[in-house]
Subunit: 246 residues, 2 copies
C-alpha cells in the first residue's frame, strides 16, 4: 500500500499538493477512478477515489475515514542533541518515526558543538518515513532550544528521563528505561539524550533538581544517535500492543 | 579513550599496521613513552607503552592484558538480506556492532534484488565501530550465502528465529523476541531478517520445517535495516548485565 499526504481536506474530498500529485499521477500512474489512500498527518487515513488526475493538483473523494491509523499506545517526545554529522541525526529521525515517536526536539547542550540546527529537512524526512511505515500521524518536529530551556519546559506530569554517561553517577544509581516505565503511572514520556561531549554538570544537576530520572541504556558505549534510537525501542518494546496495521 | 587495533601481537609487544600507525602517530601525535590501548579483535585489550613512534609501523610493549573487554552475555548471529541501498546495510552493521553482535551474515533470498554482495567495506565499518564503542572483539563478517543455505547451516542447538511479515501467519502465531529468549535454554542466537520483498513461501516453509521459530517485532512496519537493528536491541535489552566498560 502506498500512502499520500494531504493538508487540504474538505468535507468529502481532498486535494494533493504538487509533489504528492506528481508522485501519484506521473510516477505511480494513478488515473481517475483509481483507489488512493491519503493521510492527514493527524492520525487519520482516508480511503479515496481519484476524481481529477491533474499531475500538479490531483483531487480525490473520500469513501472512508480510519482514525488512529498505525498509532502506538504511548506518547513519546525525544529531545536529542544534534550530532556533529547531520546525516546521523537524520538517520535517527527516520528510524524513530518508523518505530513510533510523537515529537522530536533538537536540544542544544552546553557541550554541543552545533549551536544552530535547522529543522526543515527533518520535516521532509518525517513525512517520508511516516508514509513508508504506514502511519497517519506525523511526529512533530520542534524548533531547537537549549537543554536548560527544555529541562524547565517539559511538563512535570510526564515521565521525564535523562540519559547520560557522566561517571559521577554510576550505573547502579540509574535505572533501565523499561524499569522506569514499569513504575510510571503515565505513558506521556520525555527522554533527553545528550551531545557527544555529554551534558554539563550544571545541566545534570538542574535535571535532578527538577525531578528528572537518570536512566541508562545498558553497558555498550553508544553514539548519540544510536543511544536515542535505543531509547525509542526501549519504549516501543515496553508497550507490546500497538494498533495493528494492515 | 582511543583504541587501536593490531593483528601482529607477539609475547610482550605488538606492531600497528600502516593505517593504525599513521592515526596514532600523525593524527593523535602519540610519542615514545605514551600510553596506548590496543585491541586484538578477539576480545582482549592491551594497555601498552609506545616504544617506536614510526608513523608507518609503530611498536608498543604490553604492560597489561584485559580479557573479555566490552563483551556482552550472549552470542548473536544476525543474518540479514542486503538492502537495495548499500548505505542502509552499512548503517545497520555499524549500529549493531556498537550495541553488540557476534556475526553478520549477508543472506540472499529468493526475493532479494541484490544477488551479489561484497563484504570488504563492512569489515572496515565493523573495525571502526568496535574501536569507537570500546569493544575488543570484532564481529565476524561472513561471506554471503543464500537464505536456503543459511537455514540449513545454522546450528540446530542455537535459538533460531526468523522474522517475516507474511500475512499467512498472523502476529498471534509469532512470538516477540524477548518471549522466545525467555523460553530458551541457550544464549546462542541466530536471527534471520528477510529482504524488502519478504521471504518466499518456500523459504518460510523450509524454516518452519527445520524448527526455526517465527518472531515478530511489534506492530510497526519497519524497513529491513530497522527491523534488523530492532532485533539486535531486543536481544541486548533481554540480557541487562553485560561486562561494564570503563
Amino acid at each position: 500500500m502506498e500512502l499520500f499526504y494531504s493538508s487540504k481536506i474538505e468535507d468529502n474530498s481532498l486535494l494533493l499538493d504538487q509533489d504528492e500529485s506528481g508522485h501519484c499521477v506521473r510516477v505511480l500512474r494513478k488515473r481517475c477512478g483509481d483507489t488512493v489512500s491519503v493521510i492527514d498527518g493527524n492520525g487519520t487515513l482516508f480511503r479515496c477515489t481519484l476524481v481529477d488526475d491533474n499531475p500538479k493538483s490531483a483531487r480525490a473523494v473520500i469513501n472512508e475515514a480510519v482514525n488512529d491509523f498505525g498509532t502506538h499506545p504511548y506518547n513519546l517526545q525525544m529531545a536529542v542533541c544534534p550530532t556533529k554529522n547531520t546525516d546521523r541525526y537524520e538517520w535517527f529521525v527516520e528510524k524513530a518515526t518508523e518505530i513510533g515517536v510523537d515529537a522530536i526536539v533538537p536540544v542544544i547542550g552546553d557541550h554541543s558543538e552545533r549551536k544552530i540546527f535547522r529543522t526543515d529537512r527533518l520535516k521532509r524526512i518525517v513525512l517520508s518515513a511516516v508514509k513508508q511505515s504506514l502511519k497517519a500521524k506525523l511526529p512533530e518536529v520542534r524548533e531547537s532550544l537549549t537543554v536548560t530551556e527544555y529541562l524547565q519546559s517539559a511538563p512535570s506530569s510526564s515521565l521525564r528521563l535523562i540519559c547520560y554517561c557522566d561517571s559521577t553517577l554510576p550505573k547502579e544509581k540509574r535505572t533501565a528505561i523499561a524499569e522506569a516505565l514499569g513504575k510510571s503511572k503515565t505513558n506521556d514520556i520525555c527522554i533527553l539524550i545528550g551531545p557527544e561531549g555529554d551534558f554539563s554538570t550544571e545541566e545534570i544537576n538542574l535535571a535532578l533538581t527538577l525531578g528528572w530520572q537518570a536512566v541508562h541504556l545498558g553497558d555498550s558505549r553508544l553514539r548519540t544517535e544510536t543511544a536515542a534510537l535505543a531509547a525509542v525501542l526501549a519504549v516501543y518494546y515496553f508497550y507490546p500492543d500497538g494498533t495493528a496495521i494492515d
